[in-house]
């Protein structure tokens, strides 16, 4: 008997995994269990996933639901990991806790490079593993070396087709095949996530600002992040949108909303805060949104690709500048959003149709850009992609220099690197003499070469 274990840390992840299942993406299994976890800095202060509209419906499709955080309490799921020698103990423990008997196991996890997914994959050492995408991050290269015992068992990467024509780099170094989760399946599941009373509530469509957790992710300070959202509010107002909704990220710590309201008042626009118990995708699904604005949120791409909604970005230039180190795994999401989505200020007139923006992008170029940036991020893991990176940079570096750092390119010897230092001048008669004297290493030579003020007595320097 086979039991499938789906591990999900967000409602969006649960939607992705469910869509993959509903589209027939998995082999048959006799039993399916869902293991939920919360990996925010303080899970005890985070809204539980089951409070999100539609999640209990999705949960009811599983034979059982377990809370991983409760299983390892008081430890934090991002930190706790079993010691190698203890793995069989933990397997016995979890098999008992989750009523797994001696079943064959099939793990379906996201974010395989970190705990808790990696801990679970290590504990169930014989299980087959499928990975599902955690948003735009999956388009970037594998962040860190996976334990061989985990990596070798990964069979597929399942992902929604957020950037049609571009294949995720994640796990490509292990030649893990990718499988697209069809848009229709994703939308069918997202439809379930509409809050019951939401349709009655909504009136005219709004411009939605999708928040992230940039400060909690240590990409900037809290003040900067709030400033960024305030800027989005003013720029939306300037572009002619008067009804705005701010959608806080479900994993973000509570934001200081007072400042956002203040920004909206200053611009004379209405700002509502979206109920955190509803996914952004549910808003897209019920046609409540006429424009989606964000920095580099995955929500921008779901809106544009899966829902065909107009989208605009704010702040990616700053992020490209600030992201450090170069291999920061947010780099590919930022790059994709910057390359594919127009800046909000490029809206010529109010409510300009942005619908076509994605079609305008040269997808071949974007595909090659992702490979080149990905290679520069993880040159060892993606060594095989070097020729593609070289070809792209040789042709496009000038127009795409904002996605790279010259020092990085120089270190990797890629086109766009800094020019080599100036060649040393041709030796003159004088310099030849100096060199010869130096080589002779005689006390006279040393004495002649030293600056007059510092000359010591010749016997001393000979000694």
């Amino acid at each position: 008997m086979t039991t499938q274990i789906v591990l999900a840390s967000t409602a969006f992840g649960l939607v992705t995994a469910t869509a993959a299942y509903e589209s027939g993406g998995f082999d048959r299994c006799e039993r399916r269990i869902l293991v939920i976890t919360c990996t925010t800095a303080m899970p005890e202060a985070t809204m539980p996933m089951r409070a999100v509209a539609g999640v209990s419906e999705l949960m009811s499709r599983f034979d059982a639901v377990y809370d991983y955080n409760a299983c390892i309490e008081p430890q934090h799921p991002s930190i706790w990991r079993p010691r190698p020698g203890d793995l069989p103990l933990w397997e016995r423990h979890f098999r008992q806790l989750w009523d797994l008997g001696a079943d064959d196991l099939h793990l379906v996890v996201e974010s395989i490079h970190v705990n808790p997914a990696q801990a679970v994959c290590r504990i169930f050492g014989d299980a087959r593993i499928d990975v599902y995408a955690d948003g735009l991050m999956s388009y970037g290269p594998t962040r860190s070396a996976l334990p061989e015992m985990v990596a070798s068992r990964i069979e597929r990467l399942l992902h929604p087709d957020l950037v049609p024509g571009v294949t995720p780099l994640l796990l490509s170094d292990r030649r893990v095949p990718t499988v697209i989760i069809p848009d229709e399946s994703f939308r069918a599941v997202a439809k379930i996530m509409i809050a019951e009373n939401a349709v009655a509530r909504s009136s005219e469509p709004v411009a939605m600002i999708v928040g992230q957790y940039l400060a909690a992710g240590e990409l900037m300070c809290e003040l900067q992040e709030v400033d960024l959202y305030a800027e989005m509010i003013s720029r939306c107002a300037e572009a002619g949108y008067s009804a705005l909704v701010f959608k806080p990220h479900p994993s973000a710590p509570p934001t200081q909303l007072a400042r956002l309201h203040h920004a909206a008042r200053a611009q004379g626009v209405r700002l509502a805060i979206a109920d955190e118990r509803e996914l952004a995708e549910a808003w897209f699904e019920r046609g409540a949104v006429e424009l989606v604005v964000g920095c580099f949120s995955t929500g921008l791409l779901t809106a544009a690709t899966i829902y065909g909604l107009p989208v605009a970005r704010v702040g990616t230039e700053m992020m490209l500048e600030q992201l450090t180190p170069f291999q920061n795994s947010n780099r590919i999401p930022v790059t994709l959003v910057d390359a594919l989505i127009p800046d909000l200020s490029s809206l010529a007139g109010p409510k300009n149709a942005l619908r076509s923006s994605m079609e305008e992008a040269n997808m071949d170029e974007v595909r090659a850009l992702v490979v080149a940036v990905g290679y520069a991020m993880q040159p060892l893991r993606l060594a095989a992609r070097r020729p593609e990176a070289v070809a792209f940079l040789a042709e496009h570096y000038e127009s795409h220099s904002r996605y790279f750092k010259r020092r990085r390119l120089t270190r990797l010897g890629l086109p766009g690197r800094m020019p080599p230092p100036l060649p040393t001048p041709k030796p003159t008669a004088g310099s030849r003499l100096c060199r010869r004297l130096r080589r002779a290493r005689t006390s006279l030579g040393q004495w002649l070469l030293s600056a007059p003020g510092t000359r010591r007595n010749s016997t001393e320097s000979a000694a």
Binding site: A41, M42, E44, A45, T46, M47, P48, E73, P74, Q75, H76, S78, I79, E222, P253, P254, Q256, A258
Partner: protein, 323 residues
């Protein structure tokens, strides 16, 4: 609200904790219960804390807000909360800490089951995502015991060595007996004489394995890490304890425990003295020397003899200066 029975009042003082106040409130929301009240005390905050908890008081069910016009210190803030509390039981949470979902309901259940004056708990110390379980030493655990058994002999860690008011739940009769009031003139270390007072004067208590409080240890601004004179209040705090137990019929045993704890805390503060500017280091040393001079000589000698060599030498040196 009229006629509603409040089972538990949780007193939550806040002072300039804008980064953490919202998480604190979010965790209270996952503890809310119709028969619970959360008394949020804004201790004269000057940052965004005030607006965060004012907003929180509006949506958090069972919350009420007390605003102190100026910063009065943790003791005064807790006392202000106690004055408003209507619950049959009382508990605390600091404004920068977090309680696990359902923690307070579990506390109420356990004190109702054990029927004692107060219950003390373990807790979890949090540094970023690192967590460390902190146990409160006592045996037997999970059983109502005489309150005095929580003091324990010198040289053995006990409930009074985990002086965290928020690691517990307290019956209202202790409030009525005046035992839950904090000394407002102590700016730090107020928990020490408080917990000693409880163990000396209450009848029964228990230590249980609940550990729902997440105690942040990574805050640079936290008072336990401040490097100013307020830290020196451990001296009057311990002198108060020693004064109290000296008059007690069990003085001979209690005094040794109090002195032992005092010496340990003295050594701890001296080992940390480099945090202070030089003038304060002298001041600290002088204050300790003066305090040692006031202590009963014979019990102090017994205490020093039982210290490990390093601490014994430290205290001996100070005593020589006192002589």
């Amino acid at each position: 609200m009229v006629g509603k029975v409040i089972r538990l009042s949780v007193i939550v003082p806040f002072f300039n904790v804008e980064r953490y106040a919202a998480e604190n409130l979010a965790s209270l929301a996952q503890n809310a219960n119709p028969d619970m009240e959360f008394i949020l005390v804004d201790d004269g905050s000057t940052d965004a804390t005030s607006s965060i908890i004012a907003e929180g008081a509006a949506w958090l069910s069972g919350a009420q807000l007390i605003r102190l016009s100026r910063n009065s210190g943790l003791s005064a803030a807790r006392n202000a909360g106690l004055a408003q509390a209507r619950g049959r039981y009382l508990s605390f949470l600091d404004g920068d800490d977090v309680a696990a979902p359902g923690h307070f309901s579990a506390l109420v259940q356990v004190i109702e089951r054990l029927r004692c004056d107060f219950v003390r708990t373990d807790h979890v110390q949090v540094r970023g995502r690192q967590r460390l379980l902190h146990r409160t030493s006592h045996a037997p655990r999970g059983v109502a015991c005489p309150a005095r058994s929580g003091i324990g002999p010198a040289g053995q860690r006990s409930s009074v060595d985990a002086p965290y008011a928020w690691a517990g739940i307290y019956h209202r009769r202790l409030l009525e007996a005046g035992l839950l009031r904090f000394d407002e003139d102590l700016r730090t270390c107020e928990d020490r004489p408080w917990i000693w007072g409880l163990h000396l004067h209450a009848h029964t208590f228990a230590v249980v394995g609940l550990h729902g409080v997440r105690y942040r240890r990574d805050i640079s601004a936290s008072l336990t890490q401040l490097s100013d004179e307020r830290q020196f209040d451990f001296i009057p705090a311990f002198e108060r304890i020693i004064h109290q137990v000296s008059a007690d019929p069990d003085a001979s045993i209690l005094l040794l425990k109090a002195l032992r704890s005092y010496c340990a805390v003295i050594c701890h503060h001296l080992s940390q003295r480099e945090r202070y500017p030089l003038s304060l280091q002298y001041k600290l040393q002088n204050a300790i020397v003066a305090s040692l001079r006031r202590l009963p000589v014979e019990p102090l000698q017994i205490t020093i003899a039982a210290l490990d060599v390093e601490r014994a030498v430290t205290v001996e040196k100070l005593l020589l200066e006192a002589a």
